[in-house]
């Protein structure tokens, strides 16, 4: 369940009493809610800019570049009957996400390189929703590979694109154009797109649908 708490969105805390990354907690009708900081989470930033995320409580989710799980913790609040598989290849950040997964029953941590989905296919079923925030030059390629293997027909993808990680020398607008072209050619439909200013500089969030 999600409500507005002041200007921010907030998700109903799956583990009442616990704040994950220092976000504020507030009791409202229906329980305790965690404020979703758009400066810390690109999904929250995109929602603040008007993007609607069609995530349902019983869905399977694959999250590439889950890091410490700041964003994933809110998705975990929403997925009361679902499961989120979070992939990251950096041990230092994944350590935090493991701790989070121990207290949240719908999270599965995976230490792996997202460009090698064969390494984690054995754990992950087909999913309805993918999130990707890896900040890598080859992130379009990584996205397509994973979608082909894991994403159900009609499934959705939220992807954050940071132009500086793809090409520092080009203008953000041009980098985004190339990225969108690549994505469309791979068979995705772009349902919505939002620049993330003022929360993040030179970032684009895309909501995609798979064939």
């Amino acid at each position: 369940m999600m409500i507005k708490l002041g200007r921010n969105f907030a998700t109903k805390n799956l583990v009442p009493g616990k704040s994950v990354y220092g976000e504020s907690l507030a009791k409202r009708k229906g329980g305790e809610f965690r404020s979703w900081d758009p400066k810390r989470s690109k999904v929250a930033a995109a929602m603040m800019k008007g993007m609607k995320i069609p995530l349902k409580e019983n869905q399977m989710v694959l999250y590439l570049g889950v890091a410490t799980g700041t964003t994933a913790s809110h998705l975990s609040d929403l997925l009361t009957k679902g499961m989120l598989f979070g992939v990251d290849f950096a041990p230092r950040v994944l350590r935090e996400f493991i701790l989070l997964s121990e207290v949240r029953r719908n999270l599965v941590p995976i230490m792996a390189d997202a460009s090698k989905p064969q390494k984690y296919r054995w754990l992950v079923p087909n999913v309805d929703f993918m999130f990707q925030d890896v900040a890598q030059p080859n992130q379009a390629q990584i996205l397509v590979r994973n979608a082909k293997i894991f994403l159900n027909k009609g499934g959705h993808i939220f992807v954050a694109v940071k132009s500086r990680s793809i090409d520092v020398t080009k203008k953000p607008g041009d980098v985004f154009k190339v990225f969108k072209k690549e994505i469309k050619e791979a068979g995705f439909t772009i349902l919505d797109e939002k620049r993330l200013e003022p929360f993040e500089k030179d970032h684009l969030a895309l909501l995609l649908k798979w064939k």
Binding site: R95, I98, S101, V108, M111, R121, W122, L123, P125, I149
Partner: protein
């Protein structure tokens, strides 16, 4: 045609049209399952090959669908996936974090031992030199072992009796223990490097590779450094001079110790050092982030050495 499918609940052999030919349940708690999985998988692969199964390279079948084929409910799959996944992630983290700090300490210990051995061996040389000045050996370790083998003989040096000689020998024995320690640590570093940083080791050798990690502070930091920094590691003084006074930049730091570079003609060393540094930068990233061994890095590096050599001849 059949496929071998690994799942957190067990191994499946699946034929076309999703027919389960074989199923072996994994046993034990999630930690045991996660620990043994890779090993079990290899065993299965071999068994399949022996039976002349035509198995596919990578399997991308949905593991939840496969477990569903034999009536396992989705909830049970998801629970197993979470528990085994958590255990596997913890194991992966344990394997990744910390070993590089062991390398850093071991390299430090090695250097301390080398210094101590040199210091003590120098004393032994002076001491024994009183009696036997004709005996010369550049390498300290060889000097010590030579000293211990010598019988007292005729020499232009000082006449000494058994008591004098035994004192010197006792002292030298102590040094040989340190030399043995040093060899053991070298072997230890070699093993650590194979596990922790196989790609860097393959390119630079265990000792030099360990030194690079030690210089950087950790494998993580080495993995984040650009090739240009790795190239001048250990030549910080020269680099500083270059930045301050505009003298030419150093071409190579400790990677100069690499056999292929130190034995190359002077004018080629810069070229080789640049290539090696670039390969090492990639190798450290692979070692830190994925841990797979990539033969092509070494092959490329060897090809480059050949190429540079050839250009010299022509």
């Amino acid at each position: 045609m059949v496929q071998l499918v690994k799942t957190p609940l067990g191994f499946f052999v699946v034929a076309l049209k999703n027919q389960v030919v074989e199923f072996q349940e994994t046993m034990g708690n999630p930690k045991d399952v996660a620990t043994n999985l890779d090993f079990e998988y290899k065993k299965w692969e071999e068994a399949m090959r022996a039976k002349a199964y035509d198995s596919e390279e990578d399997c991308f079948l949905d593991p939840m669908k496969i477990t569903g084929l034999i009536g396992i409910p989705e909830e049970k799959f998801l629970q197993a996936s979470r528990e085994v996944g958590l255990a596997a992630a913890k194991i992966a983290i344990k394997e990744h974090i910390g070993k590089d700090y062991l390398v850093v300490q071991a390299v430090g210990a090695l250097d301390d031992l080398t210094k101590a051995i040199n210091l003590l061996a120098n004393r032994a040389m002076e001491w024994y030199g009183l009696h036997y000045p004709e005996f010369k050996e550049e390498d300290m370790e060889k000097y010590i072992s030579g000293l211990l083998k010598h019988k007292r003989g005729i020499s232009m040096g000082l006449e000494i009796d058994d008591r004098d000689l035994n004192s010197i020998r006792d002292y030298a024995e102590g040094i040989t223990l340190l030399i043995k320690r040093k060899k053991l640590i070298e072997t230890y570093i070699d093993k650590l490097m194979s596990e922790l940083s196989p790609n860097v080791k393959a390119l630079a050798g265990a000792n030099l590779g360990a030194r690079l990690i030690s210089r950087a502070g950790s494998l993580k930091r080495l993995a984040r450094l650009p090739a240009s920094t790795i190239q001048v590691f250990g030549a910080e003084k020269a680099l500083f001079k270059h930045l301050q006074k505009g003298v030419p930049p150093p071409k190579h730091g400790i990677i100069f110790q690499h056999n292929a570079i130190s034995t190359a003609p002077k004018h080629n060393r810069g070229k080789l050092a640049r290539t090696l540094a670039a390969k090492l930068a990639i190798a450290a990233k692979i070692d830190y982030y994925s841990g797979d061994f990539r033969q092509s890095l070494v092959d490329d590096w060897n090809a480059r050495i050949k190429e540079v050599k050839k250009n010299v001849k022509n």
